[in-house]
Amino acid sequence: MATAVAAPTRGSGQSAASKKTWWSVANLVVLLYALIPVLWILSLSFKTADTVTDGNFIPRSWTFENYAQVFQIDLFTSALINSIGIAIISTVLAVVIGTMAAYAIARLDFPGKKLLVGVSLLIAMFPQISLVTPLFNIERAIGLFDTWPGLILPYITFALPLSIYTLSAFFREIPWELEKAAQMDGATPLQAFRSVIVPLAAPGVFTTAILVFIFCWNDFLFAVSLTSTSRSQTATVAISQFTGASQFAEPTGSIAAAAVLLTIPIIIFVLFFQRRIVAGLTSGAVKG
């Protein structure tokens, strides 16, 4: 093929090829950086207790015992259910409230709009650790401590700024004329919002849902401070409380197995919604 390339175009071809090489190298570095720890954990989870510390990337002897062990711990199973329930409820609520707030911010002019945006930004920047002690005291006083709502409420608070920001960016991209058209077609503002705007903002809604879900799923700080029993302890907390077979055994294998198990729902969640994040869903609405 190289011989077929005419002399004048060779220069640009070469530079394009070298550009491509550079990008590939850069991508590879980023991928390795992100994936090696994950693969390492995966490898640990398949190692037997004797070989955990041998330093081999590929386990010498494979075992599923770690996984079996994880499910024998009662705490972990209930924690997994808590995690799933709390994360899903928080995500749904944060996205629904966020959608309405973001729409208002993107489309309407109302007094105090800047203040609202400012406050939500403030919440996003607020160091969460500084709220742990007050929240702990408040929740104990009003009986929310160690309950699902006790975790869902702070999760929504911290997920809302994120969802409002992401969603208002999406709403801004939807041509306003569509809404005017819906109004002319006889829709009330609510009907226009529901049957025209929300379906079009779907990619944004799903993106936001993924981000919020990951945030709730991964949280450790609130989960460890605001829960105490299997009633509401989440999986991240449960892992931290694993014990080894004996007092002196490190539960490395079980922790690795549990960590792998914890990433699976996120991977499923992302894969499931990724298909709905179809770029250019609004193409065809207006002159493209």
Binding site: E177, K180, D185, L281, G284, A285
Partner: protein
């Protein structure tokens, strides 16, 4: 179906600028009316006020005799076609057209019937299950039309519906819109900045500028007796030629030489106490190759000789362009028009060029001198300060 009356309608923006300044238009039932003007003239604002998408600051809007100022768009029972089509991209063509009917809580069978009827009219039947993203511009445009007509509303509002189409398709769609309107006999308000569209489509045309209605009339009235320089320059393609002129001893002294006035015009100008410095406007078709003018016609006009700059042969006609020496006609109206056409900042643009339409038989050649005859009886005369047309009685206000 209903008539639409704009009674001293004003649009005042929060910063005090006027989007529409005391607009008075009476649109008869079933009439096809065009709002035309350069961008920013208030035509879209006016349309949006009729639609209910913008608030009316002052005045009254009546549809079918009923005041609708305070009514929401959905309660006005009018349909709108947007410049960008504004189709719902997540719905198929069928769903798009059914949307207004569904909102009106019509039953399914009837929706089906109406959508099929509209699709039939617009030749969209085989596309009903496609999504807008996979359609061509012309098809999308027809879907937008379909969504408007299914509901049989009191009126159609169209906001530059054809301006996103390419030139050839635009001409086809223009005919389609015209036929559709004749067939449905629904009151239609159509906004465009294209004077050709305005001339070909409308029963009547409203020319707007800076939020103020300049003139309302049939296309021919606007063409023959424009009320002012702005209307004269806006309507017609190629545009009317404007030349500064001095009225002296019953002749106009212009860069083309002396142009004799008809007795009627001279008497009229004297009677209306016209200033000596004027602007004369001559339409391109009122020029002719002098050698082709019959002997008995010649005294009705004047003849000048000039070098042809550019000659464009259209087959049926020839357009000859001449450079005009000397001063150019100056007026706010003309400056506005030039700004709109984008010729204001083009060196040697429209200004200073005389456009003439000669018969195809003309022997005029580029770079050669040519004798050109002007039909002076068709000359329009304007006041350079007010822009007012001084030529005819009906074009001047009654009190003048």
């Amino acid at each position: 179906m209903a008539d639409i009356v704009l009674d001293n309608v004003v649009k005042r923006y929060p910063d005090g600028t006027l989007g529409a300044d005391h607009v008075n238009i009476e649109i008869a039932d079933g009439e096809f009316i065009i709002l035309v003007g350069p961008s920013g003239c208030g035509k879209s604002t006016t349309l949006n006020m009729i639609a209910g998408l913008e608030d009316i600051s002052d005045g009254e809007l009546r549809i079918g005799g009923e005041r609708v100022n305070e009514k929401a768009p959905k309660d006005r029972d009018i349909a709108m076609v947007f410049q960008s089509y504004a189709l719902y991209p997540h719905m198929t063509v069928r769903e798009n057209m059914a949307f207004p009917l569904k909102l009106a809580k019509m039953n399914k069978a009837e929706i089906e019937k109406k959508v099929n009827e509209a699709a039939e009219i617009l030749d969209l039947t085989q596309h009903l299950d496609r999504k807008p993203a996979n359609m061509s511009g012309g098809q999308r445009q027809r879907v937008a039309m379909g969504r408007a007509i299914v509901r049989s509303p009191k009126a159609f509002l169209m906001d530059e519906p054809l301006s996103n189409l390419d030139a050839k398709l635009r001409v086809q769609m223009r005919t389609m819109v015209s036929k559709l309107q004749q067939r449905l006999e629904t009151t239609t308000v159509y906004v465009t900045h294209d004077q050709t569209e305005a001339m070909t489509l409308g029963d009547r045309i409203v020319v707007m500028r800076g939020g103020v209605v300049q003139q309302i009339g049939s296309p021919q009235t606007l063409y023959d007796t424009p009320k002012n320089l702005f209307v004269a320059g806006f309507i017609g393609s190629p545009a009317m030629n404007f030349l500064p002129a001095t009225l002296e001893n019953g002749v106009f002294r212009t860069a083309l030489g002396d142009l004799t006035l008809t007795d009627e015009l001279r008497q009229h100008l004297e009677a209306s106490d016209a200033p000596r410095e004027l602007i004369v406007g001559i339409r391109p078709e009122h020029f002719e190759d002098a050698s082709l003018v019959e002997e008995h016609q010649r005294p009705k006009g004047s003849i000048f000789t000039a070098e042809v700059d550019v000659l464009e042969s259209m087959g049926s006609d020839k357009f000859a362009y001449f450079s005009v020496q000397g001063e150019q006609a100056m007026s706010d109206d003309l400056a506005d028009l030039a700004a709109d056409a984008g010729t204001a900042d083009v060196p040697g643009g429209d200004t200073g060029t005389l456009v003439t339409r000669l018969s195809a038989a003309s022997t005029a050649t580029e770079g050669r001198s040519s004798e050109v005859w002007v039909d002076t009886s068709k000359i329009q005369v304007f006041d350079p300060h007010s822009g007012r047309n001084l030529t005819t009685k009906e074009a001047t206000p009654a009190h003048a």
